[in-house]
C-alpha cells in the first residue's frame, strides 16, 4: 500500500518516455533543450527529477503534457498507458490532461482564473470530465479542499484566488490536480516560490493527494533536500540529458556521476556542520550548438581526452537499476566530494571560451 517502496508496488508502467528530444529554433541556432531522455514511471511511485536551471527538467514534462509552444520540435515517444501522446490530436490530449495526467506549476496563479471562486474552478475541473450535477461537483470540491488541509473549506470555496495566500493557492491547485483522480501528477517546482514552513505543508498536501488518488508523481525541483524526502527514484538531469538515475538511496549515497557528487558537495547542510564546500567550477553549458563529448567535461575534475570527444551513455554498473552517464563512473562511486572536487574559491574558468576576446563590440 505504501508507495515508498517501488518493489512492492505493482510494477506496471503508467508512463514511458523514450528517446525524447525537444529542440527550439531560435535566432541563435537550435536550442537543444532535451537531448534523448528515457524513463519509466511505475504506478504509485514518486519520481524525482532534479537539475539546475537549463537542465531541461521542466521542458521534459511540458513535452509529456503537450504544453510546449508550437515552435518546439519534438521527437521520440511518450506513451501513457500504452497510448502514444506525441501523435495524439489536441482533443485526445485534452482528455488525457486533467483526467489522466495533471500538473502543478510553480506559480499557482498561472493555473487559477482570477475571476472565478476557487470552489467553482474545482467544480468545473470535475464537470469537465464527469457527467455530474453542479451541486454535486461543488460538494466534491469542498471535500477536496478539506483533503489538502484548507481550513474552513466551505467558506474558502467561495473565495477568489487573490484572497488567498501563496501556500493556500498552491493547495487549491493540488486539489484541482487530484479532482479527477489522475494516474499521474506532475509537480513542477511546486514549492520554489514559497517559504520553508509553507513548503513543508505543501509537500504534505502533495503526498496526501498522491496517496488518495493512488497516482504516480513526478516531482521536479532543484532542491536536493526535497527530492531526498519525497522521491522513491531520482533522475539527475544536466544539459538536457539524464546523467544519473536510480533509487534515492543509490543516488544520494553512491552517486556514479561526478556532477551528482559535486552537487551534493556544494550543498551547505542543515544537519551537519561543514567547514568547506566543494563547488563545481564553471557554469552549466549553453544548450545552443552543443559541442561534442560529455557536457559536464569542462567542469569535471575527472575529465580526460575521451570525455571531450565521446558522450558517455547512461549505463548501469553492478546494480542494474542504478545508471550513470560517465566514462569513469567506477572512479566516482563510493567517494566523498572533497576527494574529487577542489574547495578553491575562485571561479577557475571564467568565460572558459576566451575565444572571443578580440570580439569587436
Amino acid at each position: 500500500m505504501t508507495p515508498t517502496d517501488p518493489t512492492t508496488a505493482t510494477a506496471d508502467t503508467v508512463l514511458e518516455v523514450a528517446d525524447l528530444t525537444v529542440q527550439f529554433p531560435t535566432d541563435d541556432g537550435l536550442v537543444q533543450a532535451v537531448r534523448g531522455v528515457n524513463y519509466e514511471l511505475r504506478r504509485g511511485e514518486v519520481l524525482g527529477i532534479v537539475g539546475e536551471s537549463g537542465s531541461g527538467k521542466s521542458v521534459t514534462s511540458l513535452a509529456v503534457m503537450g504544453l510546449l509552444p508550437g515552435s518546439a520540435q519534438l521527437s521520440g515517444s511518450v506513451r501513457f498507458r500504452g497510448n502514444e501522446l506525441l501523435e495524439s490530436t489536441d482533443k485526445e490530449l485534452s482528455r488525457v490532461r486533467g483526467q489522466g495526467i495533471s500538473m502543478v506549476f510553480q506559480d499557482p496563479m498561472t493555473s487559477l482564473n482570477p475571476v472565478y471562486t476557487i470552489g467553482d474552478q474545482i467544480a468545473e475541473a470535475i464537470m469537465a470530465h464527469h457527467d455530474i450535477r453542479k451541486d454535486a461537483a461543488r460538494r466534491q470540491a469542498v471535500e477536496l479542499l478539506d483533503l489538502v488541509h484548507i481550513p474552513h473549506p466551505e467558506q474558502r470555496a467561495k473565495s477568489y484566488p487573490h484572497e488567498l495566500s501563496g501556500g493556500m493557492r498552491q493547495r487549491v491547485v493540488i486539489a484541482i490536480a487530484m479532482a479527477n483522480r489522475p494516474d499521474i501528477i506532475i509537480a513542477d517546482e511546486p514549492t520554489t516560490a514559497l517559504d520553508v514552513t509553507v513548503q513543508a505543508q505543501i509537500l504534505e498536501s502533495l503526498r496526501t493527494a498522491q496517496k488518495e488518488t493512488g497516482a504516480a508523481m513526478i516531482l521536479i525541483t532543484h532542491d536536493l533536500g526535497v527530492i531526498a524526502g519525497q522521491a522513491d527514484r531520482v533522475l539527475v538531469m544536466y544539459a538536457g540529458k539524464v546523467v544519473e538515475s536510480g533509487s534515492a538511496d543509490d543516488v544520494f549515497y553512491r552517486p556514479r556521476m561526478p556532477y551528482t557528487l559535486g552537487l551534493l558537495g556544494s550543498l551547505p547542510r542543515l544537519d551537519v556542520k561543514t567547514d568547506r564546500l566543494t563547488p563545481i567550477a564553471g557554469s552549466p553549458p549553453s544548450v545552443v550548438n552543443m559541442p561534442p563529448g560529455c557536457p559536464f567535461s569542462p567542469r569535471c575534475p575527472l575529465a580526460e581526452e575521451i570525455c571531450d570527444t565521446e558522450e558517455p551513455p547512461l549505463e548501469a554498473g553492478s546494480d542494474p537499476d542504478h545508471l550513470g552517464a560517465c566514462h569513469f563512473a567506477y572512479r566516482v562511486e563510493g567517494h566523498d566530494p572533497t576527494e574529487l572536487f577542489s574547495t578553491a574559491a575562485s571561479d577557475a574558468t571564467p568565460l572558459p571560451a576566451g575565444t572571443n576576446d578580440g570580439e569587436v563590440r
Binding site: 539546475e52 495566500s165 520553508v196 504534505e204 534515492a248 552537487l263 556544494s266 542543515l270 564546500l277 568565460l351
Partner: protein, 350 residues
C-alpha cells in the same frame, strides 16, 4: 572558534562592536488609493530589533519572506532610514550624520545584493562598475586601474574580462563582480542580502567559499541575511531568527541548531529538508499551520501564537492567556541563549 561569541576575547578592541543596532523600528505607511492618499495604516516591518556585530564575525539574520530581515539590512546602511531606534557604526550614530558625513561613512560599510542580474547596471562595463566606488570617493586617480584589476582577481575573475558587460557573465560571476564593487572601498562591514539565493546550487558553493576566504584575509564583519538556515549554519558565527519584524531567538550558530528554544526556530529547523534520504524519512517534523499574519495588523502579545504548535496543542488556557496579553521579551530563559517565548524549552531536532 565556534564559541567566539560567548568566550570573552583577549583584546579590548575585539569586544567593541563594529555595528550596534538598538531598538530599531521601521514602519512603512499604507496609503489609501484615492486622490488624497490618506495614511490608513502602517506596515510594521521591523519592530524593536537590537543586535551587535563584532570584528571578524558573521551574524546570520534568518527568517521567511516579510519578516523584516531585508528592511533591517537596509536600515543598517541607512538606505532606508529607521523610523526610530539607533544604528551605531564604530560608535557613530548614523541618524545624526549629515548627508556628506554619511557618504564618507559608506566607505566602511557596503552591501551585496540578492539578484546579480538587477544589481549591476547593464549599460556599464565591468571595469567601470568596480571602479565606480573609487571614482565617487575620488580614489580612482591614483592607481585606480590596478586596484580594479586586483579586485577582480581577488574575487576569482579574470581581470582581462573587465571590459565586458555584465550580461556576458553568468549569475555566479556577476555576484562576484558585485562583491568586488563592495570591496573596492575597503569596508570593515559587509551586509550580504541573500547573496546566494538566486544562484544555482553548484555556483552557490563557490561564492560562499569566496566570502569565507575574504573574511579570513581582510578581517571583515558580515551581516548575512538569508531565508536559508542551511546556508546560514555554514557561514554564521551567531544567528538571529526573525519573525514578523522581531528577533525571536538569537544564539551562537552551533547552539541554535543543537538546542533551539523558540517554537518558531524549531519549526523552521524541522521544515528544512536535508539531502539525505534516510534522515529525511525518519525525521521528526514540527509542521506549523497557516501563513504569516499581515504586518499591518500583527497579533497581540506573542506574534507567533497564531501559528505556534505549542500554543495550539500543549498549553493550557491559562498559559495561553499570557501569550495573548504579554509580548515575550528576548531573554535567556535557562537555555543558555535569549529567546522570545514565555514557554521556551530547548529541543533536540537534528
Amino acid at each position: 572558534m565556534t564559541e567566539a561569541a560567548t568566550v570573552p576575547s583577549t583584546t579590548e578592541s575585539d569586544r567593541t562592536p563594529v555595528l550596534s543596532v538598538r531598538n530599531l523600528v521601521k514602519h512603512f505607511p499604507v496609503r489609501s488609493g484615492g486622490l488624497l492618499r490618506r495614511r490608513i495604516g502602517e506596515v510594521h516591518a521591523v519592530c524593536d530589533v537590537s543586535f551587535d556585530i563584532y570584528p571578524h564575525e558573521t551574524l546570520g539574520l534568518v527568517g521567511e519572506s516579510g519578516c523584516g530581515k531585508s528592511t533591517t539590512a537596509r536600515a543598517v546602511l541607512n538606505l532606508q532610514p529607521a523610523t526610530t531606534g539607533e544604528v551605531r557604526y564604530d560608535g557613530t550614530e548614523l541618524g545624526t550624520l549629515s548627508s556628506k558625513e554619511m557618504r564618507q561613512l559608506r566607505r566602511s560599510m557596503q552591501i551585496v545584493f540578492q539578484d546579480p542580474y538587477a544589481s549591476l547596471d547593464p549599460r556599464i562595463p565591468v571595469n567601470e562598475i568596480v571602479a565606480e566606488p573609487l571614482r565617487i570617493h575620488g580614489l580612482h586617480e591614483d592607481g585606480g586601474k590596478e586596484r580594479v584589476r586586483d579586485l577582480l582577481q581577488t574575487v576569482g575573475l579574470r581581470p582581462e574580462h573587465g571590459n565586458r558587460f555584465p550580461h556576458e557573465f553568468s549569475g555566479g560571476q556577476r555576484q562576484r563582480i558585485g562583491i568586488a564593487r563592495a570591496l573596492a572601498l575597503e569596508p570593515r562591514l559587509l551586509v550580504l542580502d541573500e547573496p546566494v539565493s538566486a544562484l544555482d546550487v553548484s555556483i552557490q558553493a563557490g561564492v560562499l567559499n569566496l566570502l569565507q576566504d575574504l573574511q579570513a584575509e581582510l578581517g571583515l564583519s558580515y551581516l548575512f541575511v538569508s531565508h536559508d538556515l542551511s546556508v546560514v549554519r555554514h557561514v554564521a558565527d551567531r544567528i538571529a531568527v526573525m519573525y514578523l519584524g522581531k528577533i525571536v531567538e538569537t544564539a551562537p550558530a552551533e547552539q541554535l541548531f543543537q538546542s533551539p528554544a523558540h517554537p518558531y526556530t524549531q519549526a523552521l529547523i524541522s521544515a528544512i529538508p536535508v539531502p539525505d534520504p534516510r534522515k529525511e524519512r525518519t525525521r521528526q517534523r514540527i509542521v506549523i499551520t497557516g501563513d504569516v499574519p499581515s504586518p499591518v495588523d500583527p497579533p497581540s502579545g506573542c506574534r507567533f501564537r497564531t501559528r505556534c504548535p505549542k500554543f495550539a496543542d500543549i498549553l493550557t488556557d491559562n498559559q495561553r492567556q499570557l501569550c495573548k496579553d504579554e509580548e515575550p521579551q528576548l531573554v535567556d530563559r535557562g537555555q543558555g541563549h535569549p529567546s522570545a517565548c514565555h514557554y521556551a524549552e530547548a529541543a533536540q531536532l537534528l
